[in-house]
Assembly symmetry: C2
Homo-oligomer: 318 residues x 2
């Protein structure tokens, strides 16, 4: 089976690199570091390359070893975690140049771009797949590895709140708690803390929030001007898209964020059961999950809003 082949590849390789998707979230970062711990437990070493590392994950063990780039051009083995396709993979040149490639992921849209692919869309987090793999490999989970795994499980399930959580999610969590993983601390660091900048942005996007289509759609935005004014750093907009989603009656939450100084907006959509925002984002060249997806759309706020609402209406009117 694939996992046995993956084990063979890891054991054979000398130079291993671990990569994940751009704009990394908790599951991307957690999976990358957990994979590194797994490789080490197998007696090997691996580089983790994450060019844009969000500050809120700096509490994770061995964060300081993460590279922005590497001198090694041709790795024996490249492992992509939590990434659906080659294009979204950050620093994908290392993947392209590697002798052998492995893809481990939980996105249903994964297009199996590795030599070996272990993709389980039934897992709510890539980290949950990794803990399963560790068990299969007979690796005992350390507190450090468990902390990385828990980070992905907490963030990708919205703190155990999204559809897709499984009895496994909870049983693994019990297991991780037992090896000393501090779940409340991880929750606090990743989902329970608003930086002052995030708090200021929250104020603004709440003040601007519009409820459209009979309250079924919440729309709000943020500009680069806002980010400058509140001294926002990378990751300071995290979670803002959920504010609209949680309002009673809202089926789709739209949060658009200006891309640098351009007339273009990074779109984040969140939805309730029955509305596939991944399909909507695909129309604009983006993608994601059925209930959480993103895209980049050219235009000013009004133009982007109009383009999006035209597509969203098709779902909310039905």
């Amino acid at each position: 089976m694939t996992l046995d082949e993956i084990l063979v590849e890891i054991k054979q390789a000398e130079k291993i690199v671990i990569l994940t998707h751009e704009s990394p979230d908790g599951d991307a970062v957690g999976s990358s570091l957990a994979m590194k711990f797994m490789v080490e437990a197998l007696g090997k070493k691996a580089d983790v390359i994450i060019p844009e590392y969000p500050r809120c994950f700096c509490f994770l063990p061995t964060t300081d070893e993460i590279k922005i780039q590497s001198e090694v051009q041709n790795y024996d083995l490249a492992i992509s975690v939590d990434c659906a396709n080659f294009k979204r993979l950050a620093k994908n040149e290392y993947f392209e140049n590697a002798k052998k490639t492995i893809v481990i992921d939980h996105h249903s849209s994964n297009n199996m771009f590795g030599d070996l692919n272990y993709v389980n869309p039934a897992s709510p987090a890539c980290c949950e797949i990794l803990i399963g793999i560790a068990e299969y490999f007979g690796i005992s989970i350390s507190k450090e590895m468990g902390t990385c795994i828990m980070t992905g499980m907490i963030t990708d399930t919205g703190g155990f709140r999204y559809m897709g959580i499984t009895p496994d999610t909870f049983e693994y969590s019990a297991e991780l708690l037992r090896v000393g993983v501090d779940i409340p601390e991880i929750y606090k660091k990743t989902m329970g803390t608003k930086t002052k900048a995030n708090f200021e942005l929250t104020k603004r996007i709440i003040d601007r929030m519009e409820l459209l289509e009979d309250g079924k759609v919440a729309f709000t935005y943020m500009t680069t001007q806002d980010e400058k004014e509140v001294n926002a750093e990378m990751g300071d907009h995290e979670g803002l898209v959920n504010i609209g989603k949680d309002i009673e009656g809202v089926l789709v939450s739209v949060f658009i964020r200006q891309k640098e100084e351009e007339e273009a907006y990074k779109v984040s959509l969140r939805s309730e059961d029955g509305i596939n925002v991944s399909d909507i984002c695909l129309l604009f060249g983006g993608g994601g999950h059925a209930r959480a997806a993103g895209a980049l759309i050219q235009g000013n706020i009004e133009q982007v809003k109009e383009k999006l609402m035209k597509e969203i209406k098709k779902w909310t009117e039905s």
Copy 2:
């Protein structure tokens, strides 16, 4: 052991009443209904009396059977769940007049006011105690009973995020998921949904929020005027106290809410490790847990703020 005696009392009683604390939260409501299901599984019937039932819990099974009061004056058995003392028990006259009384709770401040007391402060929710009792009694958990239990476990742990969660919390959750309990739905209904009124209140309290004591204390307030203007119903202020708590650097979050038309404020405090807000609230005749407590203080906003800050400073300055 106490549980065996409790079982005997339930089996012997004809008229049973279940009561819980005033201003009931998810654990109070969930425990009350779960206890009723447990009594029924033992072949008995019980009245649940909750005079102020928050709308957000109306999705719970048999909500419509909950009474505001009862014609029965002298119950054979009164069971208090999730309540630390007799004074806080809503409709405590039924407890007082009952022939036999049982107290099941998880508050460390519980003063054992029943004939039989089963109190476990190590449990993060009273509902978690109840699922343990059900197991001990050999009662298999139905989806309905499980939904009530999960409601208490989710709300009292802040969605699995507070200190005090145990491997049991997660293992029971896995078990409940397996019997068909819809955890994401419960999360959404109890913690993930803001009513429009709650959203409007959020806007206001965020706009008013002050960061005091070098950012260690977040202070904000709400008046009855606010509640009127946004058409707030019971429970619409839920969760507002957590907004301040989640800001980086904040150790104590203070949220005060005017009591009806009086010059008095209901105080809610939340804290981080190391600051015991229960001790602070005790000074004002209130109480609660170390990290979540409340009290009622006479005065206008400025006066209440001053009284509170004087005590809070003693903790934040050290």
